[in-house]
């Protein structure tokens, strides 16, 4: 299992715990002191990432899409920050 901590410049702290298999996310938990409205979306977001390749563009797209579809608001962190922390926990800067 990989772990990472990422401090957003001028923002909040993100922590990720991740299990990967063959370059794809098997399980992921995102914690931290950011704000996401509505809060319960975090669990859907974690689920949506399962099966995704550890590639920044794919991760950013799926996080952004979910946030937009649900009319959600992220404060103190962006979809890209989440994606970066996930990649760090995956043990690399990612591919692509």
């Amino acid at each position: 299992m990989g772990k990472a901590v990422y401090k957003v410049e001028g923002g909040k702290m993100i922590r990720v715990q991740l299990t990967e298999r063959g370059g794809r996310i098997q399980e992921v938990k995102i914690t931290g002191d950011f704000f996401l409205h509505p809060e319960e979306l975090i669990e859907d977001l974690e689920e949506a990432l399962v099966g995704q390749p550890l590639r920044e563009s794919d991760l950013v797209d799926s996080i952004r899409r979910l946030v937009e579809e649900r009319g959600a608001t992220l404060l103190g962190a962006s979809p890209r920050d989440f994606a970066r922390c996930v990649l760090m926990a995956g043990g690399s800067g990612g591919v692509g």
Partner: protein, 249 residues
């Protein structure tokens, strides 16, 4: 209303009960002041209790720990060292907009005004802080449920970073001193800034006046209703005092 000193689980349960009562139209918009006894650590909705809080150190000192319904970071609520407020306000109210960041600024303006009445030239600092001379004196967190904006926050009267970092997890002993020093530099308190003892009563009176004047309202002293009290008791037992809630992330 002022609900005095209560334990962490009841405090968070009563907040949710007040939101529910407001959402059902049973009560008007509410401002609540409260304190925490025993002293307690609250963590943000998205935080991991295990990662953030040294629960063994808390247990040793009789400090409670609870998860909030709001995001944001871990906060140490000292019984004497801080005053907490919460407010429950319909989303259709003139003070509320869809813009969450903007609503923070508007709602925090009452606290900024109240601190000004104590001679403390505070200002709002995005995302969710109030600072004086660049140092944090208040942290705030907001959520929206059932058509109600629920914001709570803490105003520091005294601050003890060394104690705080005994209760919160730190990466290592070496880092602990650095973190303590950083908080010493970045955080202040009413007593420290004013260089005098400001009582909790005086602070509460100033904040109440801050709400009245900044929002052009008159807060009417009140008590939780029977509905709110019994719902709070149930929410404490079934949610906020449970490991299922507090350790869920």
């Amino acid at each position: 209303m002022d609900t005095g000193v209560r334990d962490a689980f009841y405090n968070m349960a009563l907040d949710e009960a007040l939101v529910t009562a407001r959402a059902r139209g049973l009560v008007a918009n509410t401002v609540r002041f409260f304190r925490w006894g025993p002293s307690a650590v609250s963590i943000g909705y998205f935080q991991s209790m295990e990662e953030e809080v040294d629960t063994a150190a808390c247990d040793e000192r009789g400090v409670d720990y609870v998860r909030r319904v709001t995001g944001g970071g871990a906060v140490y609520h000292d019984t004497e060292g801080e005053l907490t407020y919460s407010l429950m306000i319909g989303e259709d109210h003139r003070l509320v907009s869809r813009d969450i960041q903007g609503t923070y600024r508007t709602l925090c303006s009452a606290l900024v005004h109240g601190l000004g009445l104590l001679g403390i030239p505070a200002e709002f600092k995005p995302i969710n802080d109030i600072v004086v001379g660049g140092r944090k004196i208040s942290g705030n967190a907001q959520t929206r449920r059932m058509g109600v904006v629920h914001q709570h926050g803490t105003v520091l009267r005294e601050v003890d970073p060394a104690l705080m970092f005994r209760l919160l997890r730190v990466p290592s002993e070496k880092v602990r001193d650095k973190l303590i020093q950083a908080v010493e530099e970045r955080v202040t308190s009413i007593n420290r800034y004013s260089a005098r003892e400001v009582s909790l009563e005086e602070l509460k009176a100033a904040l109440k006046q801050g709400f009245d004047e900044a929002f052009h309202v008159r807060l009417i002293p009140g008590e939780p209703t029977e509905f709110e009290k019994s719902l709070a008791a149930r929410l404490k037992a079934e949610k906020y005092a449970t490991g299922e809630w507090n350790l869920r992330r």
